[in-house]
């Protein structure tokens, strides 16, 4: 009896382990299914247009004279994410360095708490605020002066309107700050104290310690944090959709910052419910989703590898 009970229990151990493995593998399974569910419906558009789907600029969802090209939206995503990094990264690194290396702990805890709250605000609320508040700040205090003094530059062409690529980029910048600053802070805190102590013992000031001993050591992890922020910016949908102006076709090519644009994600959000199911329009939108998926996947994999490399060396053991 005792023997049988023990055997049952041993097999329960094995069963539990198998169950855990099966559930855990759902993560990989889901990722695989996501790829399949994009590839399947996108096939018709890829077969019909081939590489022209990537390089074309027309977007005519009218049955009979349909044409779909994703280039303007790929460019729109690249440009808005670029602005987001340009504005957001210096800010985030400043915050991370300040919080990890300089701030007294009285400031540190509440400030990191507030910055994490920034990450918790839903994207649609950023969009609402962007549409009714930030838009006017940008138009009156950023775009108007830029247009007056630097209006001759090609990137500042057009009438400042507030619902354009610049506002889209700025709202993305605000949204990536919590991600980039909290991962960077983690990376900085993983730098072994020996690094800092060595620099201090040579008489370095606090800033020199950060610059020479900490930043140099954490570089690849910080790059990872930035790329992680890029991943967030590339996939962000609602806030951008509400402020970017929603241009379509050749008009959406981002030639000026003061022009309505469109990102891959905002295009899908805007048009998905209006796509005629008998046309190629849904397939084209899912095709754009596939491009977005590949972008996000590549960016995230790269970022995770870079961040892992630094966090693994915690405690000064360089592998």
């Amino acid at each position: 009896m005792a023997f049988r009970r023990r055997g049952w229990s041993v097999s329960m151990d094995a069963a539990f382990r198998v169950l855990a493995i099966v559930f855990a593998c759902s993560v990989i399974f889901v990722l695989f299914l996501v790829a399949l569910s994009l590839l399947g419906p996108a096939l018709p558009i890829l077969e019909r247009f081939g590489p022209r789907f990537l390089t074309g600029v027309d977007w005519i969802p009218v049955v009979g004279r349909e044409a779909y090209g994703a280039l303007p939206y790929v460019l729109g995503t690249i440009v808005t994410s670029g602005i987001a990094l340009l504005v957001g990264v210096p800010l985030s690194l400043g915050i991370a360095i300040f919080l990890a290396e300089m701030a007294p702990s009285v400031i540190r805890t509440p400030v990191s708490f507030i910055i994490e709250l920034l990450a918790a605000v839903p994207s649609v609320i950023y969009g609402l605020w962007g549409l009714f508040v930030l838009r006017f700040w940008i138009r009156d205090y950023v775009e108007a002066p830029l247009s007056t003094y630097l209006g001759f530059l090609p990137v500042f062409q057009g009438t400042p309107f507030g619902l354009d690529i610049l506002t889209g980029g700025v709202i993305l910048a605000i949204m990536i700050v919590p991600t980039v600053s909290s991962v960077s802070r983690e990376v900085l805190m993983a730098v072994p104290n020996g690094q800092r102590e060595a620099a201090y013992s040579l008489g370095a000031t606090r800033w020199e310690v950060v610059r020479v001993a900490v930043l140099a050591y954490a570089r690849s992890g910080l790059v990872g944090a930035v790329i992680l922020g890029l991943g967030r910016a590339v996939g962000e949908t609602m806030a951008v959709t509400m402020v970017i102006g929603n241009a379509v076709g050749a008009a959406a090519i981002p030639t000026s910052l003061f022009k309505g644009g469109q990102t891959m994600a905002s295009l899908i959000a805007n048009e998905f419910n209006e796509a005629d199911p008998v046309s190629l329009h849904p397939s084209a939108l899912i095709g754009v989703g596939l491009i977005l998926f590949v972008f996000a996947l590549a960016i995230n994999i790269l970022a995770r590898i870079l961040v892992q490399r630094v966090l693994k060396t915690r405690g000064g053991v360089v592998e």
């Binding site: 300040f98 910055i115 839903p122 609320i125 509400m242």
Partner: protein, 281 residues
């Protein structure tokens, strides 16, 4: 080497710049909170919270069906996402110190970074197309996938905080491994796991993009799992795009309700988590 006062000045300057960055990041948060509170409070009323939307163009009605829809979708996706996430977390913490474990950890991080609209397309192709209609259940599956990696990684972290002495004590008493995990380790890590679940709930409560292509939105109260449904974030988006002043006002009101739900979940989690980690060290 530069003079000492120059180096000291640079140090001060760096400190000032850091402080400036922090202030720069807090301005938008303050701006959003103030604006949502100011505009949203004006929209709140008993009618607004208890009735479904009126006909488009008339300043009547409210967001009751959206609040109901949000609660339903949170409930359903928690039902799907939490068991998956917790089991994945258990695997990662207890059995995951091998190549498969590392692969799952890696892919779960990648899943976290997947654009939510892509997850929406997934649910659309797999469920909406297959079942022939926009439905509450498709939305719940999409949100569950977004929850999964968050719950998995926080569960893993909290299980790893449980001292191994607890496990050893149970094993020494002859308790089997699976029983130890379920009865001893899980219950010791309970508050950490709950924290992770609440964070994940806060995250999906505000998700909008995947709902566009799954639950679609609706003017009515919940009618069935296989039917379109409304949700707060979706309602905010639709209201914001209507060209009426009353609609914008209602949009702010809905935003206030949503932000109260999400931020109170977050604040509660931070306070609950604070005592816990100290306890284990």
């Amino acid at each position: 080497m530069a003079r000492y006062w120059v180096r000291r000045l640079k140090d001060r300057l760096a400190y000032g710049l850091g402080l400036l960055c922090v202030v720069g990041a807090i301005i938008p948060l303050g701006g959003i909170l103030i604006e949502v509170a100011r505009q949203g409070a004006a929209a709140l009323s008993f009618e607004f919270l208890t009735s479904p939307p009126g006909p488009i163009g008339e300043p009547v009605g409210g967001i009751a069906n959206a609040i109901q829809g949000s609660l339903i979708i949170i409930y359903l996706s928690t039902l799907i996402g939490v068991p998956l996430g917790v089991m994945t977390g258990i695997y990662l913490a207890e059995f995951g110190d091998n190549p498969l474990g590392r692969a799952i950890r890696f892919f779960s991080d990648v899943l976290t970074g997947l654009p939510s609209i892509v997850v929406g397309i997934f649910a659309y192709t797999m469920l909406v197309t297959a079942l022939g209609s926009f439905s509450a259940i498709a939305g719940a599956v999409a949100l569950a996938i977004i929850m999964l990696p968050i719950v998995a990684r926080t569960t893993e972290e909290s299980l790893k905080l449980v001292p191994s002495a607890l496990r050893e004590a149970a094993l020494a008493l002859g308790v089997r491994r699976w029983r130890t995990i379920v009865s001893v380790v899980l219950s010791a890590a309970r508050s950490g796991i709950v924290t992770g679940i609440m964070l994940a709930v806060a995250r999906i409560a505000g998700e909008t993009a995947p709902l566009i292509m799954t639950i679609l939105g609706s003017q009515w109260f919940f009618v069935g799992l296989n039917q379109p449904m409304d949700a707060l974030p979706l309602r905010i988006w639709r209201l914001a795009l209507l060209p009426y002043d009353y609609a914008q006002q209602q949009g702010w009101g809905a935003a206030l309700v949503l932000i109260l739900i999400v931020l109170s979940l977050n604040v509660a989690v931070r306070f609950a988590a604070r005592g816990r980690y100290r306890g284990f060290r």
